[in-house]
Symmetry: C2
Subunit: 489 residues, 2 copies
């Protein structure tokens, strides 16, 4: 939670879309200050054509809510914004409200690092609708990207079959906190380390690095450069072989490795950053083994992702570790999760029952799920998750034996005999963090455990098995009824 | 330059890859403190399969260099980092050097907002090689992403044919400064406004917004919601029509627009955020025109990019403005520019001549350009750029009539008779900003002008004409010679 003190500026409450503030003013001026909303964050499709996503960013939500304060400078700025049609966009009474603002929201979320699937709420926010609205953009900005990166990292780590993966993505990230988000989320998704020193300082993630081609080019010859690096970094020596010619690089690195042995040190690894990594890693392994240097490890980088790593192993490449940068930090080829924040229930005040609401659309897959939603995750006796059922207590029929598919209401899933657990946990009450915030180490362990238990058919990259998510019968009936009513049927 | 005081934390010098610091320690311990480097930032291919890129992030480089200071907390963290083989990664003498560090770098760059093409330096950094190395990651992190977003924005704005485009991407960006970078760069690339309030405050970019579906769902009926919004935002009233059914939404909005007229106000616009935007915008236009409301503008959003906008106009959609979010903020479908920072010359000290250096690779396109490079941009009499020639003064033959292609050394470009100008301008001297920093408004105007003058064949999205970039003959000969030498020929 070290982020609080340093990268979140005091005016972070303005880290929002303008419409959140114009709507807030609308609620304020309409006298709807007691009106309550229930909003859910969810996405509609698994990223990367995969079978799951890793919930991430969750551990920073409580801090985000606490930081919903408008300082004087922010109020002055808002007072200066003009409406396109003339006059100030925001009026004095509303600005006074913002000046004294303190959040009263309640938040539930999937534990960070756990798996989450399309259409089920990964975060549920309840409270005064005006406050829910003010949180929207910053919350999406937080969990959308980190969930995407954690998912990408989990896929890359899965492909690496236990060999360590390091995040090298800072130079391709969106500014310094983009880089921090990449490092944090990819560590939770399973990366072993990051090249990002600031992330090491703030989050305690192990830092890792070698040297650049420029190091080699700064010396008269490659072997001069290798010797100088070995002298300066004997306990952290990984030599980069591909500045000029990898095979010459191998010979130079072997000479330096032998010199290090004479000095009582060991060359820990070499890195290859271009060319045919499958062939070059084999040539390197053979050369180092023949030179009596079997302990020197092989690290590779160069636009890697889960597919190239899988392909390298399929070709028998003897690679020990991976540096993954661009495609991790930018989540290539799908740079957005598309997570949304949708209202699912309202009530005029705390004392009233919730009124479930639902957004329709020409695009049927954009229709939302109404109600105050819980998620039950069903597991078999060995802990393998078998399906997630979305339940609204207000319309719960208690039918736990079968679950109605979201997309195709005819399909049902049999869940009889499995144990279920609530997936969402409350993490914020009345605007304040509860005493159950996780460390990123705990989130990382949870992710590892969750992926270990997931059916391999759901983990594969090509045509993964779809993990069942559906509605409890009462909720399915409610949704059907609301859709008909709103269409005027 | 307001960013200085607020979002850049004091330990931003750690916003770097670990290897920059281990290399720096290596230079320090090798006694190479006088050794100078000349590094270039460049990319190898235009993003999005397009014909150009818009240089962006440049305006923040000087500030970045000024912020290269290591505070006590950063030094303590570095002192705590362990080498994998045991012992501290960094030694006391080097940490003392960092504690007293102040940069002495010189930086040249393409003026922000101007066009830049593959393989030519967009930023050139010279100075003590140890300092050049410490700047690398943060510099790439700054210009890589902003150049990509500004380019995407320029494409989207070009497709919008003069209709305003607003950046709606904050919720899909990488954290709050990811969102700020998106807003800044897309404004420079030509967007008219942003939804990001913090970007409005910090950069003075006009802010824009409407309301969300949740606003409509929070009221008993759609028309109640429209009335409440019109009452609260009469000078900024854009109604969202697609919460339930767009055609019903049109009728409700017309009723409210008439009521607004009665109250002496005007409904400024409606927005459609889902469905067939071509058909729905036509239906909307017809309905509002028939209702005597021709002044109500039509705004659309929903996963837009340059291609969907072009397609909407090709279908005759009567759209007045666009909100572009996800695909702008994430630069879908190419989320990384791939900009690199490569050493091109070294010298043992300030007093010596530069020694050009060059990185080879099995992947021939990864071979770099040696030398201390300038870029001459040649223009015809009407200001249309005809080609860029990379020149190294040390080997300049003065042959300005033809330019040798970078990729295929046989091809040459005729440039005789065109006027040329130096593209790179010095912006930092001895670590301090020069007095020629641009505002983002100036950068935006420069981008608009540059794109206006560019050959339409280079601007088109499908198979754009390749803008010629080549080497002056002396530099081409040098490169050929160095490649042969390094290969041992």
């Amino acid at each position: 939670m070290a982020l609080t003190d340093r990268t979140v500026p005091t005016d972070v409450a303005l880290n929002t879309d303008l419409y959140e503030l114009t709507m807030a003013q609308g609620f304020f001026e309409s006298g709807l200050m007691d009106a309550q909303g229930c909003f859910n964050v969810f996405f509609r499709e698994n990223p990367f054509g995969g079978g799951y996503a890793v919930a991430c960013g969750i551990g920073q939500i409580a801090e985000l809510v606490q930081n919903m304060r408008f300082d004087d400078e922010s109020i002055s700025y808002l007072a200066s914004v003009k409406a396109p049609g003339g006059g100030p966009m925001f009026r004095a009474a509303f600005l006074d409200y913002l000046r004294d603002f303190r959040p009263h929201l309640d938040v539930w979320a999937v534990p960070e690092g756990d798996l989450v699937f399309p259409r089920e709420p990964m975060v549920r926010v309840q409270g005064p609708i005006i406050e829910c609205q003010l949180l929207e953009t910053a919350l999406l900005n937080l969990v959308n990207f980190q969930t995407l990166v954690a998912t990408k990292a989990a896929r890359v780590v899965y492909a690496a079959e236990g060999h360590p993966v390091s995040d090298f993505g800072l130079r391709r990230a969106q500014g310094h906190d983009g880089g921090l988000a990449v490092a944090r989320a990819s560590f939770i998704g399973g990366c072993a380390s990051t090249s990002n020193v600031l992330a090491g300082k703030i989050y305690g993630i192990p830092v890792f690095g070698t040297h650049a081609h420029s190091w080699v080019m700064a010396f008269p010859t490659e072997i001069d450069a290798f010797r100088a690096f070995a002298k300066s970094s004997p306990k952290n020596c990984c030599l980069l072989l591909d500045t000029y010619d990898v095979h010459q690089g191998i010979q130079n690195a072997i000479v330096v490795a032998k010199e290090m042995e004479d000095a009582g040190e060991r060359l820990s690894a070499i890195r290859i950053d271009s060319g045919d990594l499958a062939r070059l890693s084999k040539d390197t392994r053979t050369a180092f083994d023949e030179a009596g240097l079997p302990y020197v490890k092989i690290s590779v980088s160069n636009d890697l992702d889960e597919y190239t790593i899988q392909s390298l192993f399929a070709q028998g490449a003897p690679i020990d570790s991976f540096g993954v940068g661009t495609k991790l930090a930018t989540c290539d080829p799908q740079p957005a999760l598309g997570g949304v924040y949708k209202l699912s229930a309202t009530r005029a005040s705390n004392d009233e029952p919730w009124r479930p609401v639902m957004k329709l659309s020409e695009q049927v897959y954009k229709r939302t799920i109404p109600g105050v939603q819980r998620v039950l995750r069903f597991r078999d006796a060995s802990g393998v998750p078998m399906g997630d059922m979305i339940v609204d207590d207000a319309v719960d029929t208690g039918e736990r034996g079968c679950m109605i598919d979201l997309i195709d209401a005819i399909a049902t899933y049999r869940l009889k005999g499995y144990e279920s657990q609530d997936l969402l946990t409350q993490i914020v009450a009345d605007g304040e963090p509860l005493d159950n915030q996780n460390s990123i180490g705990e989130a990382r362990a949870r992710c590892k455990e969750a992926i270990m238990h997931l059916d391999p058919a759901t983990k594969r990259f090509l045509n993964p098995q779809i993990y069942p998510v559906g509605l409890e019968r009462g909720l399915a009936d409610l949704r059907q009824r609301l859709a008909s009513e709103e269409r005027g049927e």
